[in-house]
Point group: C2
Chain length 454, copies 2
């Protein structure tokens, strides 16, 4: 949709631009560190999955302001007192900061920074909105996919939700994130091409409806696609299956998209086995989510694979996470100062952080410590790694490698979660605590604030 | 994000491409009519708002397959038996169909087609996924915005949700759709530029946190932006307000983003009035939705405007609608045949349709009839109008005119809804029925089906 604006500097909330103008005009020069993290888990999530970093870094490398865009800002009445120094700044804008991040596919928890930006404060501020938007969305979808693929317990899950994702771009990126969260592929052909993800498709009701005869509709489709999965619920499921059997042409699979899927899948499996079609797969779609899949499998439904649409591509039960991007440190001319927010109901921890992950001897994760970045814990894995230095990606991956590596990382990580955290039910929270050093910094900051700022 | 693919033909589910190949290869030539509509209302919606047509038509006019994309499809194993006739077809692909649609900003109800495509069946099929995706998303957001702006009862509502929309494109288009649904503007600067929507912004906590002294932070911001709205909840709301008053520099407004907004807004209004700052506006943001706004206003909160983020930009209580695109008519060599789906739990109405809207003498809407397109009802307004002929837009609007005209249409339409439908609570459903002629067609189709197809 937005070809003309992929990396536009205008892709930001207006207040980022007013604050940027304020910093430039008032000559406030500082190097700032911001951290991006999620405040809390939605009710039906036990963990989250990092995703979207590849797109976020691509944005940081390429964000620019065109002359026309700068003219637009300059003409907004609110910028009436802003001097040309700021507009010159925008025309030369390049992101030159350093970025650390948790690699895509890593499992993470609330409070844990998934990205840390250190840059001149104007730059770090201007990229806030887009960083949040890019990393939030893919993490929402990957975390939902993680539940759905867990429920399918090894059976194939294909992402089918482009048509009800939040726009065309969201459909493409949902396919990518769903793949990271363990899906085997997607119906989104663009995502297949762009990210080298396996694509899958069957046939729609319209194919059957356009033909005067249902048997002819199946037959002519098999002529072109001998390995097709045929859709049998346009009129009457069992009648349709008998027509396919009568054709004597074995398809790859049969798809059920409505009706009593449990009963029909049992009948279908038996009927297929009866005629010796034991290898014809039963594929189910239509308003599925992780609870429905778990319930079907608990009822011993004999299903080989699932196509999951809307619930996955919109994460319909939890379409957003409380993700924020907070200033934690400011360096004004070499004087490093911590920063935090202490409003009545919300506060943040000051200081530049690292997440330390601890495992039991059997490899199962035991707990995380959110510490200061200069701490070290023998035996723990630090999750944040350097991904960008002075505006350039470190070890930029070939296109497509990102999603595959991320899926692999996620699947390995899920296997190391305590069993209760891995499941669908609300579990005892995975233990995450702040380090002693961060707690001290927090207390000290609050005391300074009480004495000096308020 | 997706500059290289804005109008890519790959932006579709794989099965659209396999069916297209099936039609081309089997020589099945027909002119088909598909209709796009929503099956049912989410629990907390009394009506829906049409939005996204401008982007949908832009897509239809520009959708193409590049050589590289065609090579990708050709190399997919599933296309192994597909002849070059199909790939030649793709390289020449242009959408040449006719489109009727309900104008953006029109209020509509389940079952009512918002778009009707008549085109060679291959074309009509290939555009399904993108049409659904584009029209669904903006309608979801405009319908949510309609509730939020209704709750605000004339007070300013600004869309603030880009950072948690489903990606960058979704943020931009959510801003557009929210504007159609009655918002006064957006914080999304790109959307402001692209769609000529008013943009708004205040300042973030980081501005305050980056300065060693809160009063200095306010003061230096006012130096550059004398008409600023200042954010007072970084540390302590009342202390911050006193600092602003002590500066003696009157801002345009004060923003509360957390805490006890009801109590703080009352205290703030009184305090501002006390010092003679009666025209300084109280602006509230932070986890707002229509219920929260209604509850604040029912408690007589004294608030001038609201910034609404996540709940609006993701329509968090109902992030998706059951929107479908169904074949209703096929014309094979002049023989016009109705089409419908009759699975056990879902059926569709055959025939090419029009929506007829009836009003009472006082202008308030009384009911809709979904009829056959060749019917006519004196005094009723037909909602679907021709918007594209042979692949070209009829009366293509200047960029930006679309969202403004649509907002105007929506606001006028909302005033004509029966009062119960206009409100937030679940109402008696607005009366929508199928015409006698469509009911007869439905029965006839079902009987034909029973005798011939199953």
């Amino acid at each position: 949709m937005l070809s003309d604006c992929k990396f536009s500097g205008l892709l930001t909330d207006l207040y980022e631009l007013t604050m940027a103008a304020g910093y430039v005009q008032s000559g406030f020069e500082a190097r700032a560190t911001f951290e991006l993290y999620v405040r809390s888990l939605p009710e039906r999530r036990n963990y989250l999955v990092a995703a979207g970093l590849e797109q976020a870094l691509e944005f940081l490398e390429n964000m620019r302001f065109s002359g026309e865009e700068i003219a637009y800002i300059r003409n907004l009445p609110v910028f009436g007192k802003v001097s040309s120094k700021f507009f010159d700044y925008l025309s030369d804008f390049r992101f030159t900061g350093d970025v650390c991040a948790i690699p895509e596919g890593t499992i993470y928890f609330p409070g844990e920074p998934v990205l840390r930006v250190t840059a001149p404060i104007v730059q770090a501020q201007l990229v806030e909105t887009s960083l949040l938007s890019i990393l939030h969305f893919q993490s929402v979808i990957a975390s939902k996919a993680a539940r759905i693929t867990a429920a399918a317990a090894g059976r194939q899950v294909i992402e089918f939700g482009s048509r009800r994702a939040h726009g065309i771009e969201a459909g493409v990126l949902a396919a990518r994130a769903a793949y990271i969260g363990g899906c085997e592929g997607t119906s989104n052909t663009y995502a297949g091409h762009r990210f080298n993800i396996p694509v899958y498709g069957t046939q729609a009701h319209s194919w059957i409806m356009a033909h005067a005869d249902e048997a002819e509709a199946f037959s002519s489709f098999l002529d072109v696609f001998p390995q097709a999965t045929l859709l049998v619920d346009t009129y009457n499921v069992r009648a349709a299956v008998e027509k396919i059997i009568a054709l004597g042409r074995k398809p790859h699979g049969i798809r059920l998209d409505s009706g009593n899927v449990l009963a029909d899948s049992e009948w279908l499996r038996n009927r297929l086995d009866q005629v010796g079609w034991n290898d014809v797969e039963v594929f189910v779609s239509g308003d599925l989510d992780e609870e429905r899949i778990e319930s079907l499998l608990n009822s011993s439904a004999r299903i080989n694979g699932f196509g999951v649409g809307t619930a996955l591509s919109t994460s319909s039960d939890a379409p957003a996470l409380g993700v924020i991007y907070k200033l934690v440190e400011v360096d004004v001319g070499g004087r490093v100062q911590s920063a935090a927010k202490f409003s009545e109901d919300k506060h943040t921890y000051p200081g530049s952080k690292q997440v330390f992950r601890f495992s039991n001897p059997d490899g199962i994760l035991s707990h995380d410590i959110i510490g200061h970045e200069d701490e070290s814990y023998p035996g723990a894995q630090p999750l944040l790694v350097g991904v960008m230095r002075e505006g350039h990606r470190i070890n930029a991956k070939e296109s497509g490698a990102g999603a595959h590596a991320a899926q692999k990382r996620f699947l390995a990580g899920r296997d190391r979660l305590p069993k209760a955290i891995r499941g669908l039910d609300a579990a005892v929270r995975f233990p995450v605590q702040y380090s002693r050093k961060l707690e001290d910094l927090f207390i000290q900051f609050r005391e300074n604030l009480a004495s000096s700022r308020t």
